[in-house]
Symmetry: C2
């Protein structure tokens, strides 16, 4: 490891954090992993990545159970499920210094704002992962497809703030680790664009117990996907920013060509894990409502998912 290279802390060593952290370590970066359930296993055996681009193993990784033991690093990567974000108020303060860069690799809306209020840090970068991977065992991650990340800097109130220097640094590091990076000047639009896909497909895949392919093959569900996308576009609008309508058609066409896909929310549901309903639907709905915009069909999807989530995680405790 080179002392000239930036160092990383990965909070959440699952399908996302475990994968990207391992890629960085393999490329020679110093990486510290906060590990929860798999701690003992990862200390002894390290991390294993299966990938169609080539499997690899990191027999020795810096693994921690307690943030207090993690040394100061240049970058802190938040790769928890958004359902675990209540832990951040406890996890972040010991790690974050004034010049730390915080990279948020999560779906949904609103988490950068919460973090900014929590630690008062000015270097928060949102990252949108186009990644298909699963954790299939302790310290064992299967990378299935894609891995690009779109980066955009957070500024108060999600104002567009251009390409920050920290984004370029992160981009250099990730590209050195063979991760394609797209730099984007407007985190608000980047997040809402991802929501245009995530809200209908994640939500309906759970409510209708369907793959993306099934949703596209039936005229009623396909129309419903499109209507939901229109509402999300409407919710994204601010006085000076909007997503062009053509984006909907691009997403529909793109999804139609994809392999049948079980969404991340559907995987969580099937595994009886809490779903990211608040990050992906609740926060965007509240954000729109605060600006006087009602999204009735997204709101209905939210309520359906809240009902299913409550019953599904309750069953587990039986």
């Amino acid at each position: 490891m080179s002392p000239l290279k930036r160092s990383y802390t990965i909070i959440g060593t699952g399908a996302v954090g475990g994968f990207y952290g391992s890629c960085l370590q393999r490329a020679g970066f110093e990486v510290h992993f906060l590990v929860h359930n798999d701690y003992e296993h990862v200390r002894q055996h390290g991390l294993v990545i299966e990938s169609k681009e080539g499997d690899f193993t990191l027999p020795n990784v810096y693994a921690y159970r307690d943030v207090q033991e993690i040394p100061t690093t240049d970058v802190i990567v938040i790769a928890l499920k958004a359902t675990q974000n209540h832990l951040l108020a406890h996890l972040l303060p010991p790690l974050v210094k004034d010049d730390s860069v915080i990279l948020v690799l999560q779906n949904g809306l609103g988490v950068e704002e919460e973090i900014a209020q929590m630690v008062g840090n000015k270097n928060i970068i949102g990252g949108l992962c186009f990644l298909c991977s699963n954790k299939i065992g302790p310290g064992h991650i299967r990378h299935i497809d894609y891995k690009a990340i779109t980066l955009a800097k957070y500024a108060e109130g999600y104002q567009a703030c251009g390409t920050a220097e920290q984004m370029v640094h992160l981009s250099d590091d990730f590209q050195e680790a063979n991760i394609p990076i797209i730099l984007f000047e407007d985190l608000w639009i980047a997040r809402w664009k991802k929501l245009v896909w995530n809200i209908p497909y994640n939500g309906l895949s759970v409510v209708l117990n369907a793959t993306t392919q099934e949703l596209m093959a039936n005229i009623n569900s396909r129309n419903l996907v499109e209507q939901l996308m229109k509402e999300v576009l409407f919710g994204a609008q601010t006085p000076n920013r909007s997503i062009p309508k053509i984006f909907i058609q691009e997403m529909l066409d793109h999804t139609e060509k994809m392999e049948p896909y079980r969404t991340s929310m559907k995987i969580d549901y099937d595994e009886h894990r809490p779903m990211e309903v608040e990050a992906i639907l609740g926060n965007p709905l509240r954000s729109a409502r605060d600006r006087g915009i009602e999204l009735p069909q997204v709101s209905m999807l939210y309520q359906e998912l809240k009902f299913l989530n409550a019953r599904n995680t309750q069953d587990r405790r039986k």
Copy 2:
């Protein structure tokens, strides 16, 4: 049987038609039953009604497979599932005379209009059954609870047309058969009032795989039920008619006090039978749209149900 009494033809000898027809026959009315799958069984063994008010058997009933063989009767009762209404164009013309009374015992909206266009008859009465019964075997019906019927006469365009003489006659007959009858002056409002209950509870019970009790116990599904009811009220509005808002609270309170209830649509879904999606949601939506009223959440529920209905009845054919 008394020659002074009105005679009845029952089209559809299931949980609804089999039950009411049997009650009428037991009370001394001449009743002719059109029977489909159970024809041979009913000819040989008649009809069996199980009821907490007392079981009874009618060993001999007039059963028919072909409408051409049914003699002319005073009243023709349509008790098919609304999903079978495409059969009416074939079934009704041989049975209906100018002075026939047609009683439609179905859920949903629009069937009286279709029948009026089909046979040009002026004596069409809509009947809304508050009945909990199931067909549990060939010619074997279990009456669980309730049995009242609300009657209202159809006039072109669902104009309110007061209490017609034929309604009073039907009321006399059914009450003689121990069926409580409510006479209502406005079929439009009667049908939409029933939709205020049927749309949210039937629809959500299928989409969320839930009983009425589960829907009422969770704050999100309960709020969603209420929102859907508000949309139905909005859809019912005409320049001179509307359902008072207090009706929503009455329905919510009433349902909260009910025993956990599996709706008729849920039973159809569980049995892989086609659901009455068009009668209960599609026709009201189109009626509202024709009057320039959009119901986004009812529309979403409709599309979800159409998707589930297609997959559910397709599975059956596998």
